[in-house]
Symmetry: C2
Subunit: 338 residues, 2 copies
């Protein structure tokens, strides 16, 4: 049975949402959960549910990282935070995966330095799943673990992202593309030109460069880019969804002349919200660190938390980190021969 | 009277939409228009309208740049294209501004090399206006004229963008920000850190770094970034609007149980389309070249074309290029002293 160390203090509705998510996961997924956080607060929530026979345990941590902590401060000054304690459980072999809905930068920093990077991987990458027009998802990485990446690191992101897509979305040979500003190879910048020429030499199903608008078209499965670009892409998308959501609400309200019209529009709007919310898709894995790490959105509800645990479980069960070490090494060997 | 050289062959519905846009502009804005394109085709459209007393003339060009021409091919091989001829009219003082709804890359290349760059400006920048939640616009530049920009060039983009915003959107002291991946100065990459520290020393109203989601929040007016980042931001936004539009249409159709419900939702949807379409805001100026250049979306309708001409007219009348030369020089002088 896979053991998940769940940061019980991370999300906007912690520890309530985390405890409910843990219960759903333990009941439905057959995983063991270590709920890591302020023990009294976590137990109080847990007691509300009377779930005696589920494989859920509480592990105490005396500190909490907040959204306003900077990653480096959180890492250096809060050594007994729920994130640290959960990461140490993974490092020490007491858990297989770390799942947190907390401060993304802080979780990445703690995971990276407590767990360490996989052999043969230079830098970890955060992968986010974007829903697309084909009603599937497009995975983009890196969305913010690093900036100023080099071409060889982009190549490693591609290998890791492809393994993740294969494992979680069940596609045998995902199409991998480089995010650029035009499909022609000569467009783009120095980094994309060098990275594209490397990617062509790998055994990946590399289909070339794509533009920003291809993120939503569903004509490719995995898109790689530097973390600065990926983070801008992610935040622009979140911002635009928020903006359009606000506009639709206003438009719907201002046209409210019948109860029926409202009900129709309201449910169309709810559909929209649900289908643009990538947290539905199980959180963002930080690929390339030892031990699986999944970071979810702070506003995750119990179902989103259960989904993140499900993804963590699947990544553990399919030995994704062993595959990453093997395949990144293999790609490097090809590059040396090439 | 300001004279506009309008590329009559650029847009998806050329020359029909261009001719109608020219008529609207000549009638409403008091500008003179040189319609540049295949003379027979342009005259045929013009004759449909019997607008004898308007200051519209036709200038012949024998070639047309298509959306599939690469910028460098279009520049080198189609020297008598409508874009070239229009640019030469500006270069030779026969027109004040070039307006085109054509292939953005090709228009930028032709404008840059036929017109030349302004004294004291290293590289031109393409500026795009994004509608925001405050029902105003946020201008981002560069959205794709250059890649691999240096900090000094980002600073020049800021000066040019500020002048553009002041001139067209009537804000005395626009708030200028650097696009990064977190507000703290230490976040971001090498370029943003160096550019931010330069921007602080200018006389601009520089408010620091913003994230991708701030593009739509309306808490800043002008956002600067490297053209690779800006282009990804623009294309991601276009792609997401297209995606959400498609989803809403489906959702509305699938819930169609009454005519009333449909009418309500349809008009909410049309609102949405109109308000996320930045071409409503008058096209994207290529700032930093001699002679005003405005590039609009290929799908521009006559009203959008008239708006682009209006913006070109205002930029000419307010001597925006003289201001750019003066203020970029002044900023460089501060940097030398600092």
């Amino acid at each position: 049975m896979i053991t998940i160390a769940l940061d019980a203090m991370g999300g906007d509705h912690a520890p309530r949402a985390e405890v409910e998510g843990a219960i759903l996961a333990a009941r439905e997924l057959g995983v063991r959960i270590l709920l890591v956080g302020i023990e009294s607060a976590v137990r109080q929530e847990l007691n509300r549910h009377r779930q005696r026979n589920l494989p859920i345990e509480v592990v105490n941590a005396t500190e909490v990282i907040t959204m306003s902590d900077s990653p480096s401060q959180a890492f250096r000054r809060k050594k007994d935070s729920s994130v640290h304690v959960a990461a140490k459980l993974v490092r020490d072999g007491k858990a297989d995966a770390l799942v947190s809905m907390g401060n993304t930068g802080a979780v990445m920093t703690v995971a990276r330095f407590v767990l360490g990077t996989l052999r043969s991987v230079d830098r970890p990458a955060l992968a986010a799943a974007f829903p697309n027009m084909k009603e599937k998802v497009t995975v983009i990485l890196d969305v913010g673990a690093n900036v100023d990446s080099k071409a060889v690191q982009i190549e490693q992101f591609a290998v890791m992202g492809e393994i993740y897509y294969r494992t979680i979305f069940g596609v045998k040979r995902p199409r991998v593309a480089m995010l650029s500003i035009g499909e022609e190879e000569m467009k783009g910048n120095e980094l994309t030109r060098e990275a594209s020429s490397r990617l062509k030499q790998t055994s990946l199903n590399f289909v070339g460069n794509v533009e920003g608008r291809d993120v939503f078209r569903g004509n490719v499965d995995v898109i790689v880019c530097d973390g600065f670009i990926g983070n801008v892409a992610l935040k622009i998308s979140e911002g635009l969804v928020e903006h359009i959501g606000g506009m639709l609400k206003k438009a719907i309200k201002s046209r409210l002349t019948s109860q029926l019209g409202y009900v129709l529009s309201k449910s169309a709007f709810d559909d929209f919200r649900r289908r643009t919310d990538y947290s539905e898709y199980g959180g963002a894995p930080l690929l390339g660190v030892k031990g699986i790490t999944i970071i979810g959105h702070g506003r995750s509800n119990p179902i989103a938390i259960k989904n993140a645990i499900r993804v963590a479980n699947e990544l553990c069960r399919s030995h994704v980190n062993e595959k990453i070490e093997q395949e990144v090494s293999a790609a490097a060997a090809v590059a040396v021969r090439g």
